[in-house]
């Protein structure tokens, strides 16, 4: 089934023409409503009329996560406040979250794009769907929620946590589909086995998994343990949230809703656009967004756009390969973005700690764990001599990390001089998660 046959099966020529038209309008809109973009375009000696076709997109400036931080909170907002009906936030490196704002039409388009994803997974209005992304500032929960409602299915807003109760609901309500992170799906399978509930007792047939990288092996494991078909769901809050691209039943790449989000692949070093089939950094331009439109936003996700628009499912929308890495040092832990620099900013603010740290990421029972190693300054211990003093310090660091990262981290206090000085990128992160 295809949710929007007209848009999803449009010929390449029609699609390009529509994208060019929308891009022109978008550039005109940001030029007149976002001082940040007007200044950038003026510096490049560009006016909106210079952007006529979708090929002209390469003339436009890039936008980075740093630009979002520098313009915190409302600097990139294009619509008047009276038109904004939703605000989401994701974590930022310096404690400043990244704010995204939505107009009513943005929310409608989000639901429309999400409905396309769910329909491609085989969901219909007869289905009951559990949304087990976190609800709240994170875009995952509400994004998937509105999509299920758009299709006409019944949403079970389970969110995360209370896994046992959730599993009972999946069994007792005969829930048909679930949207969550792939690692949470494996955790569900684990707890189900502990409860002695066999997969034959549950009816789940669709899994919409995203918000973190996963592999073909994880897909097979989830499918065999939960007895469902696992589909990729890709998105990022800066662009919209989950719904940006999705797998169809052919599962050879994820179709991008390119009538709303125009993708490019660039070389992350030279910033030169790369052709189809070439591996590089994924860049998106929003073509219809009103609240916070972005031009050529650098996602830092590394992947490629698949050659050929001849997917057997009938959709003509371009497909992206699975994301195989990042062009920065961002970690995705339980679906939450974590930058080592965030941890650094917290540690630097704690006088009892030396400015050195080590992050260790692991996957225990299919759930990501983060342990932060910090060195105690010798001067701090001079005023104390009990274990309590050390556990109190660990608690203090853990509390401060939680308020900035939005996830719980184990804190390990280390003796002075025991951590290597962070030299060069990546030295202060050990990621033990094996994407099997």
């Amino acid at each position: 089934m295809i949710w929007n046959e007209h848009k999803e099966t449009m010929s390449r020529d029609e699609m390009s023409a529509m994208q060019g038209h929308r891009l022109h309008k978008m550039v005109d809109y940001v030029y007149h409503n976002v001082p940040f973009y007007r200044k950038k375009l003026q510096e490049m000696d560009l006016i909106p009329d210079d952007i006529r076709t979708i090929e002209d997109i390469v003339k436009l400036p890039f936008t980075t996560k740093q630009d979002l931080r520098d313009n915190y909170p409302y600097g990139l907002q294009a619509a008047p406040q009276s038109e904004i009906i939703r605000i989401h936030a994701s974590s930022g490196t310096t404690g400043n979250p990244t704010i995204v704002v939505y107009t009513r039409r943005d929310i409608e388009i989000w639901a429309e794009c999400m409905a396309r994803c769910l329909t491609a997974y085989g969901m219909t209005r007869n289905d009951t769907f559990s949304v087990s992304y976190g609800y709240g500032l994170f875009t995952g929960g509400l994004g998937a929620h509105y999509g299920v409602e758009k299709v006409g299915g019944a949403v079970v807003p389970a969110s995360t946590g209370n896994t046992e109760k959730h599993i009972r609901l999946i069994r007792d309500l005969g829930i048909d589909g679930i949207a969550c992170t792939p690692s949470y799906a494996l955790h569900l399978a684990e707890v189900m086995e502990q409860l002695g509930i066999d997969k034959s007792e549950i009816k789940l047939r669709i899994g919409a998994f995203g918000a973190e990288p996963w592999t073909e092996n994880m897909r097979q494991e989830i499918e065999s343990r939960l007895g469902l078909k696992a589909y990729n769901l890709y998105g990022l809050s800066e662009i919209m949230g989950p719904c940006v691209s999705f797998e169809c039943s052919c599962q050879s790449g994820s179709h991008i809703n390119e009538d709303h989000f125009f993708p490019e692949i660039i070389d992350p070093v030279t910033l030169e656009p790369l052709g189809r089939g070439k591996h590089g950094e994924l860049v998106f331009t929003t073509l219809t967004k009103q609240g916070m439109p972005l031009l050529r936003y650098r996602t830092r996700d590394l992947c490629s756009l698949i050659e050929g628009d001849d997917c057997p499912c009938g959709r003509k929308m371009v497909r992206m390969s699975p994301v195989m890495g990042r062009s920065d040092d961002m970690l995705i832990i339980r679906g939450i973005n974590v930058f080592p620099s965030q941890v650094e900013s917290v540690i630097l603010d704690i006088p009892e700690c030396a400015p050195r740290y080590l992050l260790v990421v692991d996957r225990v029972d299919n759930l990501d764990t983060l342990t932060v190693h910090v060195e105690m300054r010798p001067e701090y211990f001079a005023g104390a001599d009990t274990i309590d003093a050390i556990t109190d310090l660990a608690k203090k660091v853990s509390f401060k990390l939680r308020s900035v990262l939005s996830i719980n981290a184990q804190v390990q206090i280390r003796q002075p001089g025991s951590l290597e000085r962070s030299v060069g990128k990546g030295k202060y992160v050990i990621d033990n998660r094996v994407l099997r």
Binding site: P378, Y380, A382, D385, I387, Q415, P416
Partner: protein, 142 residues
Amino acid sequence: MTVHQLSIFIENKAGTLVGLLRQLKEANISLIAISISDTMDYGICRIICSEPMKAYEFLKDAGVAVSLREVIAVELDDEPGRAADAIGILSDEGLSIAYMYSFRLTGKGVIVFRTDDNPRAIEALRRGGLTMIREDDLSKLV
């Protein structure tokens, strides 16, 4: 009426204790008593030694997380029940003990502990007729 004790924060990792002991050897410090309390990941090593001030300065300069504390060291006759008597005195005073360990000194037993109120503990122990070791007594030994 107290003796100085060094407390050193150490990680629960192979080689950390021997590293510390070698540093003390380098400073020509003799150990009189040593005790280690541990959690899963780290511990605190408490040491009574010759020249505690010198040892403290030496370790501090080497960047070690070390603290210097005054602790009470009570001498006990080598007979059953003497430790119970000593602790009973503190208990009757309503004083609690943060940590404690013991060693032997010239035929007598010595218990070392830190309470939440050292002056009160010393006063109570003295009233109970117990002898507390002074730093001088220790330095004579080494």
